[in-house]
């Protein structure tokens, strides 16, 4: 119980400072919108084609926007040596990590909720035909992105070229998660209820989330403290 409160304290702190300054949020959101626009030049956005590639399009946008957001997650704490204070505080490193991951998760979900209607308008897609399933996929895959992303944000926080390092390391790691999300989202935007193969993808997404949450929680102390 005490642990959960520590997690929430860190998450609330991150959310509060992000919502007040909006530095990463604004950049990430406008970047997402720019990419959504750019995709309209990459192919002719007819209804047919959009239906076929909607999952891939949306998740690339979310993954790119997420990288911008996640870059700042630990880097923000470098100013005034906040990171050192956080690490020496009585909050265990894993609670610090989970709190930050939670905050990033909520922020990225917020960005996704803005992007989806914009996608619907620009690409003339009726994306909300399976709202419950789509919400589930968004929650699970976004957690996959944020848990890996927050871990790598911690891993790269003290490095030169941090901004370059994070996407380069994160995207190959995220391939299984993104692939599952793309498959499922394409089917859901087309209005299908998940069955057979798609349920297998969903199970893989759950497995991915569980394994990498556990690994990150176990390893984050080594990364931050040593």
């Amino acid at each position: 119980m005490h642990y959960m409160r520590q997690v929430w304290t860190v998450a609330a702190k991150d959310l509060r400072s992000e919502l007040r300054t909006k530095e990463a949020l604004n950049a990430s959101l406008s970047f997402a919108l720019v990419i959504l626009l750019l995709f309209s030049f990459a192919f002719d956005p007819t209804a047919e084609l959009t239906r076929e590639i909607s999952g891939g399009l949306l998740w690339l946008v979310f993954a790119f926007a997420g990288a911008l957001l996640l870059n700042r997650s630990f880097a923000r704490e470098l100013e005034n040596d906040c990171l050192d204070v956080l690490v020496t505080s009585p909050v265990p490193a894993s609670a610090l990590f989970l709190g930050k991951a939670l905050a990033n998760w909520l922020l990225l979900l917020g960005i996704e909720l803005v992007c989806l209607p914009v996608f619907g308008v620009f690409y003339n897609a009726d994306w909300a035909r399976q709202p419950a399933w789509l919400a589930l996929v968004l929650l699970l895959a976004t957690w996959g992105i944020t848990v890996i992303g927050t871990m790598f944000s911690a891993l790269t926080v003290n490095l030169r070229l941090r901004e370059l390092m994070l996407p380069m390391l994160v995207y190959p790691m995220l391939i299984p998660c993104l692939m599952a999300a793309m498959q499922l989202t394409t089917a859901l935007v087309a209005g299908q209820t998940p069955s057979g193969d798609q349920l297998a993808w969903l199970r893989m997404l759950v497995g991915f989330d569980i394994i990498f949450t556990a690994l990150s929680v176990a390893l984050v102390e080594t990364v931050l403290i040593g």
Partner: protein
């Protein structure tokens, strides 16, 4: 490992390789459907085996480093990762040459090709990360964590890409497919010199890494004086 042992291993590997190439080209007949090019399998598949064995060793070395904090383990991890990447590249390139002749294309997004490429990129990221960290203990720690995370994602990569698409010939070493016993013997037989080569490379690279650590320590000592 002593220098003389390494040279000895090298000579053994070279002799074995020469013998294998001779048998491959002269002793073994062309494959019924693919003809001469089929022989590339004797390098293609053992290279993949060696690559994954190297990555697995890197995982063990990384875990051992985190447990003990001895730089020896870090040296082993980086050496095996580099050698694994070299063999991975050999596997990818030989596969591409084979594909060009049999399938008529250099590359196809089949699950095994794609998975191998993703694994290769994951571990290439490991080397890039190492270059970005100055301090040796921090470098060892962070790259050990990355190695563990990378290895854990490999099964996910393989399964997910397998579900996604398939064109590669079905497994011939196990399962339904059949391979002539002479071919099979050569496939495993040629793994021996390649594995020896990998061991030699790792040993040389570890030596280099140890000398670098010594140099670093000396330099720091000189600074304090």
């Amino acid at each position: 490992m002593r220098e003389r042992t390494l040279y000895l291993l090298g000579v053994i590997a070279a002799i074995l390789l020469a013998r294998n190439i001779y048998v491959m080209l002269v002793g073994l007949p062309d494959e019924a459907f693919q003809g001469a090019i089929f022989r590339i399998i004797f390098f293609h598949v053992p290279a993949a085996f060696t690559c994954f064995l190297a990555f697995f060793t890197a995982l063990i070395a990384s875990i051992s480093y985190l447990k003990t904090g001895r730089m020896q383990w870090d040296a082993l991890a980086v050496s095996t990762t580099e050698v694994g990447l070299a063999f991975g590249a050999a596997n990818l390139v030989s596969g591409m040459i084979w594909a060009r002749i049999i399938w008529g294309i250099w590359w196809t997004w089949d699950w095994r090709l794609t998975s191998m490429l993703v694994c290769w990129l994951l571990y290439a990221g490991y080397l890039v990360l190492r270059r970005a960290v100055e301090e040796p203990a921090q470098r060892a720690r962070l790259s050990a964590v990355l190695s563990i995370l990378s290895f854990s994602v490999v099964p996910f990569v393989f399964f997910s890409i397998k579900w996604f698409r398939t064109q590669h010939p079905q497994p011939v070493l196990y399962g339904e497919g059949k391979m002539d016993s002479a071919y099979r013997a050569m496939l495993y037989g040629n793994w021996v010199p390649l594995l020896l080569l990998a061991v030699i490379l790792v040993a040389v690279r570890m030596k280099q890494e140890n000398r670098r650590l010594e140099l670093d320590a000396l330099r720091r000592e000189a600074h304090t004086i």
